[in-house]
Structures are given as structure tokens and as C-alpha cells.
């Protein structure tokens, strides 16, 4: 098949086809709709052998996907924004039941006011659910991550569901070349579905009955242990994917020009591409900076973040959403880890691009150089919030 020109959403749909997904249940919501639209076209054309279930809401979409997965089918759904929030309860059910499911989330702002552009509030809102949560930087990575998600979630050591996040419009509706891989190669790399248990007429279990406090807590502890094991599996799958298909991304975290940098900027998603460009340009102007791209917000790469940031003079965190009353969620996560270090670097949390405000590499250059200049002038400091409302260019 080779290289096709695909939107991020179509790249996800192609990966779902390549993974031989058997059941897809979804409800349309901008900017996710074209993922499931494409899948439904593939099913209708007979290119894909899957059952598509149309449901009346996102809550039901994930419930149906979850049910199919419990029954032993490789299952997929996709949503965004309000749809994801409406699903929230079933996210807990899916993770709590320890059932592998893959879901694409096209990150979009939450109303009111109504807004369809990218923002990470929806995906960040799911951090406590027990789902593995990732963000892609480009369309190719959206494809690769979706495929990898099946290997990760169905691994014997994991058995947790996973979200593949991609930024609204910047990836979801923008065309770029994507290597969609040959079906026979994918078949060799991705084994048939595995899961801890199946419920069907031969295997009669009842799921979700009442558990007394001590048992309940043990099951919670088990989810956390699986999350911890998932760190290793994510790294392993990324490495093996690289050996097999020639692309790997650094596992939990991609560090771009980090080793010799004095300052790092940490962020997630599509704008990491702009940050890399900003870093290249800034290095020409004598700013010694690198990009720490967090690919997985869950499980969080605590050890790697500590390792990459050790000895740095400053770490800037850019968030595309805010936890009102505290700071940007990525800043909260990263700064708590860096504070474990005896000598933490200077830190600042910048809130930008919220509700889809366009942030280009020149904006990021300004944001980074301002931080570096401040630290060089004032010395060590921590600033939890600084709002960047974007330049008019």
C-alpha cells in the first residue's frame, strides 16, 4: 500500500482496519466523526470485516464497545470533547473490568462557550480513570500509536484500555503523507487478541457485583500495578515496532535535543512539532534548549522525566488546558516530579493555545526565550501560571 495522503482521522481509521478490529460502536461528534465515517465506508465496501454499531449516545458507544470487548472481540471507538465527558462513567467501568479497548480522542475544547478547536481539557479530564492516555504529534504517529495500542492493551501484563489522542483539525483534518503498512506485515506483528477473561455462554461470569472495601481496594491496587507494568510494555512495543517497521518515538517520552540542553520545554501533542522548530531556531541564536515531549500522560514517565531534567537550569511546561484553581495539568504533573529532586530546576507553567488559539513556532520561541532570559537574570524561581494570549501576526 505504501504512502497515502491522509488526514489524522483517516490515518486512525486505516490503523483500525489494519488491526482487524471486529466491533466499532460510536456516536458522531466533531472533530472525530470522520474516523468512524471512514471506518463505516470501509465496512460497507467489504474492505473491513467488522460490525458497526450505531448508538444513541457516547455513553452507549463505549458501553457497547466495552461489551463487545468483554465478549472477546477486538473493539474500537472514537470521540471528542463533550462526547468524552458523557462517556466518563464507562471509562471507569472499562478500566476497572481490566478489559483491553482502544479509543481515539480527537482533543477539543469543552463548552460553554461552544468551541470545536483543539484544547486538551477533554483528555486531561480522564487522567484518573485507569486508562493509558497518549498524544500523537503527527498523522503518522496517530497511525502508529493506534496500531501499537492494541499490542499494549492486550499484553498479558497490562489488560487496561488506551486512548490515542490527536489534536483537533491540526491533525484530525489536515492531510499529510502516512505510511499505512502492508496488511500481511501488520498481521505478522500484531498477534490475535488476548485478554484475561471472556464472558460468553460458555464462560459465565458476572461482572461488577458488589465488592467489600478490602477487596475493592485490592482491585484498585491491581490496576495501579498494571499501570506500572504498562510503562515497560509501552517502551518495549515502541522499540519492537521500530525494529519491525523502522519508526519508534522514544516510548513514554521523546526528548529532542535534550542531552546537551540547559533548558527544556515540556508539552504534549501536535504543537511539539512547532516547539522543535522553535528550539532549532533558538539554538542558532545561542539559546541552549531542548524539547521533552510527553507522549503518555498515563502512565507518567516519572523516572524518565527525573532523568532527562536532572542538572537542567530550567524547565518550562506548556499546557493547552487548565485545572481551574491550580495550574495546567501537565505543569502539575511535571513540577511534582521535578520537586522530588534535591535541586529542582527553575519552573514555569505557561497556559497557551486554549480553545484552539493558534500558537506557532515564533510564539513558542518568544515563550521559551523569555523564560530563559528571566532565569538568567533573576536566578531560580517557580511560577505556576503565565497566560499567553498569542501575538497577532
Amino acid at each position: 500500500m505504501g504512502i497515502l495522503t491522509l488526514t489524522g482521522n483517516y490515518a486512525v481509521a486505516w490503523a483500525v482496519k489494519r488491526a482487524r478490529v471486529q466491533v466499532v460502536a460510536a456516536y458522531p461528534i466533531t472533530p472525530q466523526t470522520t474516523i468512524v465515517e471512514k471506518i463505516s465506508q470501509m465496512v460497507e465496501n467489504g474492505e473491513m470485516n467488522a460490525k458497526l454499531i450505531r448508538v444513541e449516545s457516547e455513553h452507549s458507544a463505549l458501553a457497547a464497545t466495552f461489551g463487545a470487548a468483554i465478549g472477546g472481540a477486538r473493539a474500537f471507538t472514537a470521540t471528542a470533547s463533550h462526547g468524552l465527558l458523557y462517556m466518563h462513567e464507562v471509562l471507569w467501568w472499562t478500566a476497572g473490568a481490566r478489559v483491553p479497548v482502544v479509543m481515539a480522542v480527537v482533543t477539543r475544547a469543552i463548552g460553554p462557550p461552544w468551541n470545536i478547536w483543539t484544547d486538551h481539557s477533554d483528555i486531561m479530564d480522564q487522567r484518573d480513570t485507569g486508562w493509558i492516555i497518549s498524544m500523537a504529534e503527527d498523522n503518522q504517529e496517530a497511525f502508529d500509536l493506534t496500531l501499537q495500542a492494541f499490542r499494549i492493551t492486550e499484553d498479558n501484563d497490562v489488560n487496561l484500555p488506551m486512548i490515542v489522542g490527536l489534536d483537533a483539525f491540526i491533525l484530525s483534518h489536515t492531510y499529510a503523507p502516512v505510511d499505512v503498512l502492508e496488511q500481511e506485515d501488520v498481521d505478522k506483528w500484531l498477534p490475535p487478541r488476548k485478554q484475561l477473561y471472556v464472558i460468553d455462554p460458555e464462560n459465565r461470569y458476572s461482572m461488577g457485583n458488589i465488592a467489600y472495601p478490602k477487596d475493592y481496594m485490592l482491585m484498585r491496587y491491581d490496576i495501579e500495578r498494571a499501570m506500572e507494568r504498562a510503562k515497560k510494555i509501552i517502551e518495549k512495543v515502541d522499540r519492537e515496532y521500530g525494529e519491525y517497521f523502522g519508526r519508534s518515538y522514544g516510548g513514554l517520552i521523546e526528548c529532542y535535543k535534550c542531552s546537551d540542553a540547559k533548558y527544556l520545554v515540556a508539552l504534549m501533542g501536535a504543537w511539539a512539532g512547532d516547539a522543535k522548530e522553535a528550539v532549532d531556531k533558538l539554538r542558532e541564536n545561542g539559546y541552549n534548549v531542548g524539547v521533552m515531549r510527553v507522549r503518555f500522560i498515563r502512565p507518567l514517565a516519572v523516572e524518565k522525566i527525573l532523568e532527562y531534567a536532572s542538572g537542567k537550569k530550567g524547565v518550562l511546561v506548556m499546557d493547552r488546558s487548565i485545572s481551574f484553581g491550580s495550574a495546567g495539568p501537565l505543569f502539575i504533573e511535571v513540577s511534582s516530579i521535578l520537586s522530588m529532586n534535591g535541586k529542582p530546576p527553575a519552573m514555569k507553567g505557561v497556559l497557551a493555545g486554549i480553545g484552539g488559539v493558534d500558537v506557532g513556532y515564533r510564539d513558542i520561541m518568544d515563550i521559551i526565550s523569555k523564560f530563559v532570559d528571566e532565569v538568567e537574570e533573576r536566578g531560580w524561581f517557580v511560577k505556576r501560571q503565565e497566560w499567553f494570549f498569542s501575538h497577532k501576526r
Binding site: R98, N159, L196, Y197, S206, L218, M219, D222
Partner: protein, 90 residues
């Protein structure tokens, strides 16, 4: 603790289904479905719809297991010939 379901070192929120795991749920009933076999046409809709699977097919037609029938009334509602009366328990 010993009755927790563990698979490959994972403790799972599962239980094995068994008869009367929740007790004899027939005692929950406030209304009772009663089939009038002279009207019944053996369409099996009640058998299909009963959410607790307590209606079974037999040589004599459909039979309700009153030990577990919770008295939800769905069977009476779906019966196309109104062969199931729904009467208050005394």
C-alpha cells in the same frame, strides 16, 4: 478473600454465576404474572423478553418459575394476545 477471582495474578471484579446467588428473588414480587393457556399461541415473546430468563419452554407451553420471577410485568406487556394477567400478590 479466598473467593476472589484471580487470573494471571490479577484480581478481577468478577463472580461466578450460580442459582440463587441473590437468594430466591421471587419474594421480591408485588405483582404476579399468570398465563391463561387457553389464549396462549406459543409465540415465545415472553420467553424472549423476560429479563431474568425465568420463563422456559416446555411440552405444555411456556412456564414461569415463580421462585425467581421478580414480577416486573414485561412478559404481560409484550404478550400479543394478552394471555398473561398481572395480578397483585396477597
Amino acid at each position: 478473600m479466598s473467593n476472589l477471582i484471580k487470573i494471571k495474578d490479577n484480581i478481577l471484579p468478577l463472580s461466578v454465576t450460580s442459582e440463587a446467588a441473590m437468594g430466591k428473588t421471587g419474594s421480591w414480587r408485588t405483582f404476579k404474572p399468570v398465563i391463561d393457556y387457553s389464549k396462549c399461541i406459543n409465540c415465545y415473546l415472553c420467553w424472549l423478553y423476560c429479563p431474568f430468563s425465568v420463563i422456559s419452554k416446555s411440552e405444555d407451553g411456556v412456564v414461569i418459575d415463580y421462585e425467581y420471577c421478580k414480577g416486573c410485568g414485561i412478559c404481560a406487556d409484550v404478550c400479543p394476545v394478552k394471555a398473561i394477567a398481572f395480578i397483585p400478590e396477597r
